[in-house]
Symmetry: C2
Subunit: 474 residues, 2 copies
């Protein structure tokens, strides 16, 4: 790592080499990527390494992600020792699997020993059972035990996220004794932000930020500095809940406890930031039925998850179509109905999606709970009424004028109002009900909501056309 | 704050009072909320305070958010001194504005002095100009200068986020001298995770985690412990970029520099976590046209942002309708076309939304850059081809059988394939192009993509029906 890689240079030093590699959004520049790949292709490994050496591990990981998959192995070969364990742990899961598949178990084990338990686990957990065993056998017994222990917890749980290296001391120590203890134990982890105070049974009883220790005279007992209340994370807690808890209570690190309340690990916020980002971004992908939604995912996996969604939506589209089929006779009498009916359905769908997106976010952020469900439903219906009247007036007047048929205008306006209000209702009720039945509201809501807004759009418009006497059922 | 508030109790202590207030997802239980509000309504303020006292400030903030807006003022009155500055800074923006509107400027100023600059700014920046002035005048000169300085930076910039209280020391100090300095200066901030090393011009030249200092003997010079490379944040950087940088380089805190490269503040990760969450979650709201998408937003604001979107979509729906109108004659000859055409449009829309969601996420996370645009476009087209063939086969066979018309089945299958492939193309190209022209891809993509998939769906299906000779233009 060099001096300049991630340093944002002050304006007067604009020509620093940093700028030749990264653009203003910290993305690798395309010229830089292709120049590295050109050197690799031409066998000029040394030149490629010189270019890449100043990069931060996170940027080297980006370089691999930006490289076409069939050229990643030769890039890794050329870069040699620049591909560190840290680079691997920063890689996108799919790209990492890709790269690791090309390595011998001993090499993977070598990488794993250089990482904190949590990062090593992240690398190993995605491997095939067989390869995993080979890597574990190549590890020294202590690392192996730690990683096997982590793998014994469910995927995406606190036990997988936590690191076992932490500083835990008894309550009777003084500030000076803690400092001496830290100075004497060179094998302790270097990245920690607070120390945990434990009782004889290794149960956490308090926590102490390093800044508090640094500001106190040596003689002060730890029990006077530490904070007794703290947020504990049960080892089997789901990572999404861990992330929400970190966010809610603004934590930097937190103690992880086992079923008996004993301290077994620590989670730090830098491991959580990725999860917060992922979880918050996942809703948009789930709501759109895009599966993992990762651009590095193998095409076959993307196809599988997306086609399943399209088939489900084909089902809902057929339901809506069967409603149109019921009114075929009416459409034959007035083809204008066929022209206008998709508008009613489509705007209703948009209105439903708006309410649904808001509700899914609010549920995910624990803002929409049982205490305020009815208030929020009422709120959404009022917004829907306002939207409904506005759009109904616009389309009603427009249709009346263009078609010179004010009855048609009135019918389309009423249908639009009905559909937008229904959309507002189901846009919030469907996600809330799914959550109440322990289903992920982001996954299933949109199939239901679209089916209802499409069907209701066609039914209200065609039904009102018949009811108004403009056309008959045929 | 009490001992039990946020402490997740180990299993054997299940009956701790904590469980009567919060459910397993750290949400306040509805019974608890209504029992507090009942006490307030009946004038039993003391009982209400006893219930609320053990809560963490973040949970008291939640309590206000879950309370209907017309009852928040009386809740605040009843809770009295339990409504701390910290509670205010944890509140949702809209709810806070609501509450603060009811307070005198002196009270707001009193709150502001108790907070770090960044949190005080967050409270004051949303107030009306006039009220802001009143609060600033009630502050003591030092706090006032710091807050006015922060307000001089653009909204959502690093300058608004940073706190001015930090520890900066010269390079020539030893570890022991730093510890003595910290012990002697009681007025320094208590929440910091690293110290910054600056030159005579107050430009940052290095950084040192507190854990590194704690582990070194007193005599070691700081220059041997500190890390010279560090990530600096320009004071005018947008908060979204700050968040990406924190995430990419796994930062706990970072130095903020002015245009001359001088250290002016520090940003810590706990202030960033909210932004990462917000920014990642915003895409879903923008893509759905739901504006801020906050359930606490005043109804009028929600109406304004959502109706604008619906009107835009009305425009695109009219474009699609005009294509149907062009084929009116054909539909008159075969009403089955009117029954089937929404299916082609709707599944195309779904396929487009999938690709668009994936692309918008990848752009937001800097994974889709100029270096790999064409590779990703190719990838999406291949996924779209697979999806297209699958769905086309299903619908083609189904229609052929149900309608007993294999030509109609072939036409609908071809139209479906075309529309899904077009959807895949535009689903990635539209967001990429918008980003290239410095527009937010999440905001505008979906109007364009929907318009294209709807129009193409109708055009391909009705056009092929005519081209196949099944029907004529009329």
């Amino acid at each position: 790592m060099s001096d300049t890689d991630v340093t944002q240079s002050p304006p007067e030093a604009e020509e620093l080499p940093h700028d030749t590699r990264l653009d203003e959004d910290d993305r690798l520049k395309p010229e830089f990527v292709s120049s590295v790949l050109d050197h690799v292709e031409e066998g000029q490994d040394e030149e490629a390494r010189d270019l890449v050496r100043p990069l931060h591990p996170a940027d080297i990981a980006d370089l691999f992600e930006l490289t076409p998959s069939d050229r990643r192995a030769s890039l890794a070969g050329a870069l040699g020792e620049l591909v560190t364990a840290e680079v691997l742990s920063e890689l996108n899961d799919y790209v990492r699997e890709d790269l690791i598949g090309a390595l011998a178990p001993e090499q993977v084990a070598e990488f794993a020993t250089q990482l904190d338990t949590d990062d090593a686990v992240a690398i190993i957990e995605d491997m095939e059972e067989e390869d995993q065993q080979a890597v574990l056998e190549a590890l020294d017994p202590e690392d192996r035990a730690a990683i096997e222990d982590a793998l014994s917890y469910p995927e995406e749980s606190a036990g997988r996220l936590m690191q076992r290296d932490l500083v835990a001391v008894p309550e009777y120590m003084t500030v000076g004794q803690v400092i001496d203890y830290l100075r004497e134990h060179g094998d302790l982890t270097t990245d920690f932000w607070e120390i945990f105070i434990v009782d004889e049974q290794h149960k956490p009883i308090g926590t102490c930020q390093l800044s508090w220790i640094l500001r106190c005279p040596r003689g002060v007992p730890l029990s006077d500095v530490m904070k007794r209340e703290q947020t504990l994370i049960p080892v089997d807690m789901d990572q999404e809940e861990v992330a929400l808890r970190f966010q809610k209570y603004a934590l930097i690190s937190a103690a992880v406890i086992d079923g008996n309340g004993r301290l077994v690990g620590m989670i730090t916020v830098d491991d959580i930031v990725h999860i917060i980002q992922e979880e918050a971004g996942e809703d948009i992908l789930r709501l759109s039925g895009a599966g993992e939604g990762d651009i590095n995912e193998p095409i076959r996996d993307s196809y599988k998850s997306r086609v399943r969604w399209l088939v489900a939506n084909l089902g809902t589209a057929l339901v809506a179509s069967s409603i149109i089929a019921f009114f075929e006779g009416a459409i034959e009498q007035m083809v204008a109905l066929a022209v206008l009916m998709p508008i009613v359905a489509s705007i209703g769908g948009n209105a439903g999606t708006q309410t649904m997106a808001v509700s899914v976010r609010a549920l995910a952020m624990n803002q929409l709970t049982q205490s305020n469900t009815w208030r929020i439903v009422g709120r959404e219906i009022r917004v829907a009424m306002l939207n409904g009247f506005t759009i109904a007036m616009l389309i009603g007047l427009g249709v009346g004028l263009v078609f010179g048929n004010y009855m048609l205008g009135l019918v389309v306006a009423c249908a639009m109002l009905i559909n937008i209000v229904v959309a507002g209702c189901v846009g919030v009720m469907v996600p809330v009900l799914l959550e109440r039945f322990d289903q992920d509201p982001a996954v299933a809501s949109s199939v239901f909501v679209t089916m209802i807004t499409d069907s209701m759009g066609f039914f209200a418009f065609l039904g009102l056309s018949v009811a108004s006497g403009m056309v008959s059922l045929g």
